[in-house]
Symmetry: C2
Subunit: 335 residues, 2 copies
């Protein structure tokens, strides 16, 4: 019915933490060493004999503008931490946005793949392929017993983090969200906000990811997470059905009002947008609002402060941004 | 630019209090006497040799339903007091709604005329004409020195009340409304809510009327009120202009949001409607919203609880009413 469960799952991500065997971890390495890491990774990608060599672009944190860095974070292509590392940080990003190779973040390399909907295996396959390609030219820090060595012990082993971004409006409206998130966190699953660790949930969006990286194969980790996510999907769907059955008019009213504000307001903060679009996304799933879910998710990315300014083509004060955001949102949602 | 200043003035009303000379005031009369008043007035209208005799319908308070009574109040055709007098109260109402003759309210007769916009003189001319017509068959209680005698001393003399219903959103937004209303009340002008004495202001709508009925001619009273109303109109217009000049985006945002809620909500109380439509009416005047002011005022009358149920054709619980109101409002405003 829904493309890769995209009624609930916005995106799936795999991230592999890797380090070079002959260079100290980023926190203690010299600038020269950092430069060496960059060059090795670039060589591994750009000099490879595959089609991939033509599909990546380099985004060096010290060369691109703060706005470009912010926009990359908002598109989930780099982490907030990498964006701040304007000394040594860099990213190689595939032109379709499915792969980012973060260089000199917490680890020398973080290979990230991202797909729409629930698509962990596809994301894993691609990450694995990129990983192999890089390993052809680079010697990873690897211990026969422990597995991949990483800057932070929580990543040692497979170095994998699988994460799924889910939209849980009905569980939030009915107040069940606390219980659900609480019980998954008890079984080794982390719940985070929209931009990862330390960020808040906005618009009823959560990131669900594995915490254990050691003692399980990558496939086991992914399948375990997928099983839990499917449970959450089923809870959220049941909750939506119940809501619509028992409080039809209130839900239609709530969604209608949010739609009305999104299409008619002339000033709108990101915060307010996220709150309202959460209702409208639920409305699209419930066929109350005639809008494509994928389009809603694209708009949600586009109207974040950095992306919005990139689209407009200049830096704007927060209030000007709120005006442009309202204009842009209204136009896109009305179609 | 605006039809009879209808950017600010919703309607103008004249009411003449009259009593029959040979029958005690309503508060102390018998049922037989009340019946006699009814018959005399009906005879004066229906047996008259003018075209008017065919243009009136009788609404006897004890014969019509509570819903019909409520609807007449909401259309400002009868007073809340008359609606409650199901023993002796009656009204003769002209088919175009411009004239209502209230029988056995506080006085034996209250001749009321109502016109859209600022139209006090036209309203007075018509009331005067109806008054003359009735007087051909009825002997009024009249004192050479005092003038017309009325149940309440405040109406003695001309028995006239001229009132104008004004929409003052900008004075309300800017917080100047208190001062304006305060200063007019100091010069013998009464300010009341939408349904007259003892009712609250809803949707920034106020009734402005004369308090003095003695010692001035009808024309003096009307011209005095008109002068004051023109002052208020000019204050409100200046305030709108200032608002739009100094807070353009905020005002457009406020109006846009109210429009968005009116056209997309699925449940709406009268209270909320009045609050939102006040913004939209201001938006229509400022050309921010493409809607006819007259149509807005009609919708405002139609969605009041009694009228709405009359239109739907049955009695509804408040919550069902709020659902039907939302549906009706959205349809009418979208056109």
């Amino acid at each position: 019915m829904f493309d890769h469960d995209n009624d609930v799952v916005i995106s799936s991500r795999i991230r592999l933490a890797r380090n070079l065997s002959d260079i100290p971890f980023p926190s203690v390495m010299t600038e020269d060493e950092a430069e060496k890491v960059k060059e090795s990774v670039k060589k591994a990608i750009f000099d490879s004999k595959t089609i991939l060599s033509t599909q990546f672009l380099e985004y060096d944190m010290k060369k691109i503008t703060p706005l470009e860095r912010q926009s990359l974070v908002e598109r989930h292509l780099i982490s907030p931490d990498l964006a701040q590392n304007t000394k040594n940080g860099s990213a190689l990003i595939k032109n379709d946005g499915t792969v980012s190779i973060l260089i000199n973040e917490e680890d020398h390399l973080r290979i990230q793949t991202i797909f729409n909907g629930l698509n962990l295996k596809e994301a894993w396959d691609l990450a694995d392929k990129i990983d192999d390609l890089i390993e052809e030219n680079i010697s990873y820090a690897f211990d026969e017993k422990l597995g991949y060595l990483t800057a932070c012990p929580t990543n040692v082993g497979t170095g994998i983090r699988a994460s799924v971004m889910v939209h849980l409006p009905a569980l939030t409206i009915t107040g069940q969200i606390g219980n659900v998130l609480n019980s998954v966190s008890k079984i080794g699953i982390a719940v985070r906000g929209m931009y990862g660790e330390g960020t808040q949930s906005l618009g009823d969006i959560y990131q669900i990811s594995n915490q254990v990286t050691l003692g399980q194969s990558e496939i086991d980790i992914i399948e375990n997470l997928e099983g839990i996510v499917k449970q959450i999907i089923s809870n959220e769907r049941k909750s939506r059905e119940d809501l619509y059955k028992k409080r039809k008019v209130q839900i239609e009213d709530r969604i209608g009002r949010s739609y009305g504000l999104l299409t008619n307001a002339k000033v709108m903060s990101t915060q307010e947008f996220m709150k309202l679009i959460s209702d409208v996304r639920l409305g699209a799933v419930l066929n109350i609002v005639n809008l494509d879910i994928q389009k809603i998710d694209e708009i949600t990315t586009h109207i974040q402060p950095g992306n919005l300014q990139k689209i407009i083509g200049k830096q704007l004060e927060p209030y000007e941004r709120d005006i442009k955001r309202a204009e842009y949102v209204s136009k896109l949602i009305k179609g």
